[in-house]
């Protein structure tokens, strides 16, 4: 479907009035045009136009609560428009869940503070939070361009990676390509048989039927008898006889077909098989060179406003003329009076902070659940997976670790940090969260050995992050239901008293994605801009 710029602006106009069109047009024009004009910006250089209309001499102050990406974007844009900004972050670092762990970094987990013991090497890092950039994530990609964050290709789906399930193929891993090819072959053969024996011809023309059969033959690589007898899409048996790579000096031999009943037993088809077709997961994807937190670094280098860490908010009070925030910093209480507060503190921690919000607001904040996710990064002393023809991508296993990720960067380097577990099932996150870091390492290695038998031999050190146990965060993806969304999403998105703006990926339809945070921040900035314009009588 063609989604033209004009149609987009018309839709925004219909939803938000002409001010919204203005804001969005500014965004669309600015971010690509600006980057073209400025090239890679030097830190501190201020491009002419931003997302927020210039104050032009008027003064307005904004306090950003929480140092996540939405606050960084807001501070960057507001500062450029002449606002006085302050960012307050309770934790030891700016960036929220955009967290890259390298040698010596602190993992501030409740009850299990750890240090990352990876070798001091720019290639040895773990993206503990977001780790992939879909190229259609508009703000994310454009801020990377605008702020000069260098990007490289991220491999998400790898046909050479493994699929392993204790309940199928005797627990033996099979190649991703083989599983998919054989599953398609069997389904295509089954469909062709069904069509030939049914009275589908009543519904389809002869030409359609011919083309359906041709489609199935093509889809599943069926022979002229409409039988699936294996396919080279599933890979040849390696090595070849006359050359190390099969199919070079002789016909390659396709693999024995997998047993269809075993294919069905595996959980892989449930969502992992088509996972890479997802809108946010399909190739091509990108990652910043050197770690996801290069994005945080780029914002921080471009923001001059004060950004305090170890500044824990105690109280948020909406007043007639603004917002009053009390926080503790360096053993003292401080109070900030600001015209506006933009707030990305996790909603489940915000409700533990003193406030004068109406009770419905608190009820709304409490209605959103907190996600549980777990990642462990393991430094491997050799890039053994490359000997298995695996370069980047994900192996899937139906064990608690769920996924094994191979670093797409530093190909043929000496060592590598791989993701030894990335759990989406909350029960698996809990399984690991209950262990201490050493136990998690041992367990992840034990399970990983069911995919790569020599795994333990290479594992040197690990660092683990259960997001629902991280100090000042205590949750991963915000868990909305259709019901809570219907009830509270617009309400929480609407500035309270025209002064207090909830934001972050938690106030988006895309929690857990950086683009959700940026989109939410832009919404807040637009709403804020409207109010300031009204106050200044259109002067801004």
């Amino acid at each position: 479907m063609q989604f033209s710029r004009r149609r987009f602006l018309n839709q925004v106009g219909a939803a938000g009035g002409s001010a919204a069109v203005y804001q969005m047009a500014l965004a669309l024009g600015l971010m690509s045009g600006d980057a073209r004009a400025a090239g890679r910006t030097t830190p501190g250089a201020t491009p002419a136009a931003g997302l927020v209309p210039q104050l032009k001499g008027a003064r307005r102050s904004v306090v950003m609560l929480g140092g996540g990406l939405s606050s960084l974007m807001a501070a960057y844009e507001l500062e450029r428009a002449g606002y006085d900004c302050t960012v307050l972050e309770a934790g030891h670092r700016i960036g929220g869940r955009n967290l890259t762990l390298r040698s010596g970094d602190l993992v501030d987990e409740m009850g299990h503070q750890q240090r990352c013991n990876f070798d001091d090497d720019p290639n040895l890092y773990m993206n503990a939070g977001p780790a992939r950039i879909p190229v259609h994530h508009y703000y994310l990609v454009n801020y990377c361009r605008h702020l000069g964050v260098q990007l490289e290709t991220f491999t998400n789906v790898n046909y050479n990676a493994w699929v392993q399930d204790p309940n199928a193929f005797g627990g033996k891993p099979v190649r991703f390509r083989q599983y998919i090819t054989d599953a398609r072959g069997f389904i295509a053969e089954l469909s062709a048989k069904a069509i030939n024996t049914s009275d589908l011809d009543a519904e389809f023309s002869t030409e359609d039927l011919e083309r359906i059969i041709a489609f199935l033959r093509s889809y599943g690589d069926l022979d002229t008898d409409l039988l699936y007898r294996g396919s080279n899409r599933g890979g040849y048996q390696q090595p070849g006889v006359l050359a190390p790579t099969a199919g070079m000096l002789e016909h390659g031999h396709v693999h024995e077909r997998l047993d269809f009943s075993e294919i069905l037993k595996s959980d892989f088809w449930q969502y992992r098989m088509y996972f890479g077709d997802g809108e946010d997961q399909a190739a091509p994807l990108l990652q910043p060179v050197g770690g996801m937190d290069r994005i945080v670094d780029a914002f921080v280098a471009s923001i001059r406003s004060p950004m305090l860490t170890h500044a824990q908010v105690k109280s948020i009070r909406l007043k007639e003329e603004g917002v009053s925030v009390v926080y503790q910093h360096k053993g003292r209480h401080r109070e900030i009076q600001a015209d506006y507060a933009l707030n990305c503190i996790p909603k489940h921690l915000l409700v533990g902070i003193d406030n004068n919000f109406p009770s419905e607001y608190t009820t709304a904040l409490r209605s959103i659940g907190r996600g549980r996710m777990f990642k462990i990064g393991i430094q491997m002393k050799e890039r053994f997976w490359e000997n298995e023809n695996i370069y980047g991508g994900i192996s899937w296993t139906n064990q608690n670790i769920e996924q094994i990720w191979y670093p797409p960067h530093n190909v043929h380097g000496r060592k590598g940090v791989m993701l030894g577990a990335y759990t989406w099932n909350p029960a698996n996150a809990e399984f690991f969260a209950r262990m201490n870091p050493e136990e998690r390492f041992a367990e992840a290695v034990r399970q990983g050995a069911n995919v790569h038998p020599d795994y333990a031999r290479y594992a040197e050190t690990a660092v683990s992050v259960p997001w629902h146990r991280m100090n000042h965060i205590m949750g991963c993806t915000a868990m909305w239901t259709e019901e809570t969304r219907r009830q509270y999403f617009t309400y929480l998105q609407t500035p309270l008293n025209d002064r207090h703006f909830m934001m972050g990926d938690q106030i988006s339809y895309h929690p857990g994605w950086q683009e959700g945070a940026f989109s939410s921040a832009h919404h807040s900035l637009s709403e804020l801009g409207k109010r300031v314009s009204a106050e200044l009588g259109g002067a801004a």
């Binding site: 309770a90 009850g111 003292r332």
Partner: protein, 210 residues
């Protein structure tokens, strides 16, 4: 931060940084900031992260429970998701640090303005059911140290309900070394249903906090 001289002109629109006007809040030692991450400002409790109110708890009870967590007498049952979250926190502390934590918590003024009621039930039925509870916890829910029975009045009501549920199902009070817990486990058998629990907690909500 901008120089204070600049602020006078348009105070309302500029950010100011100054000591909090009222002593509504207590300065938390850096070591114990993480307690407030979950248990909230002034340790008021936060149901969204399953962290009960600690403000107003007795020192002996806090000590007993922190030690119970530390030594695995509490928070090790596989069904006790929240207890399992607290357990490593206490395990990471030395007994000396536990004393420091108890001292920090009990030094906080009792902040009655942070108490909120979330449990609804039949207070009259609750009053009748409470007769058994009152034998140890006192008719006003004021607690009785001699009997190892903590104060109930003013505690997070959702937490009281959840603990009664845990005792009833043996998720808490399972360790023979936890004598008070074992007693509590036996005592909760008089609460036959979830409704009983709601009612008795609704009654506790009516008891005076101080």
């Amino acid at each position: 931060m901008r120089a204070p001289a600049l602020l006078s002109a348009c105070l309302l629109t500029l950010i100011t940084a100054a000591p909090a006007a009222a002593d509504d809040y207590s300065v938390v030692p850096e070591t114990f900031i993480y307690c407030t991450t979950c248990h909230g400002v002034e340790l008021r409790g936060n149901a969204s992260v399953d962290a009960p109110r600690l403000n107003g708890m007795e020192d002996w009870y806090l000590r007993n429970q922190m030690l119970a967590f530390k030594h695995g007498r509490r928070g090790t049952h596989a069904q006790d998701t929240n207890g399992l979250e607290m357990q490593p926190q206490a395990a990471a502390l030395t007994e000396h640090q536990i004393e420091d934590a108890v001292a920090f918590i009990t030094a906080l003024p009792v902040r009655t303005w942070t108490i909120e009621h979330t449990v609804a039930g039949n207070v009259d039925r609750g009053r009748t059911l409470y007769a058994t509870c009152g034998a140890c916890h006192g008719p006003q829910g004021q607690g009785n140290r001699t009997l190892s029975a903590p104060r109930l009045a003013g505690q997070s009501d959702w937490y009281l309900a959840r603990q009664l549920e845990k005792y009833r199902s043996g998720v808490r009070g399972y360790d023979p070394a936890d004598t008070a817990g074992a007693q509590m486990r036996a005592a909760t058998q008089v609460l036959g249903s979830e409704e009983d629990i709601q009612d008795v907690v609704a009654f506790i909500n009516t008891l005076p906090v101080n």
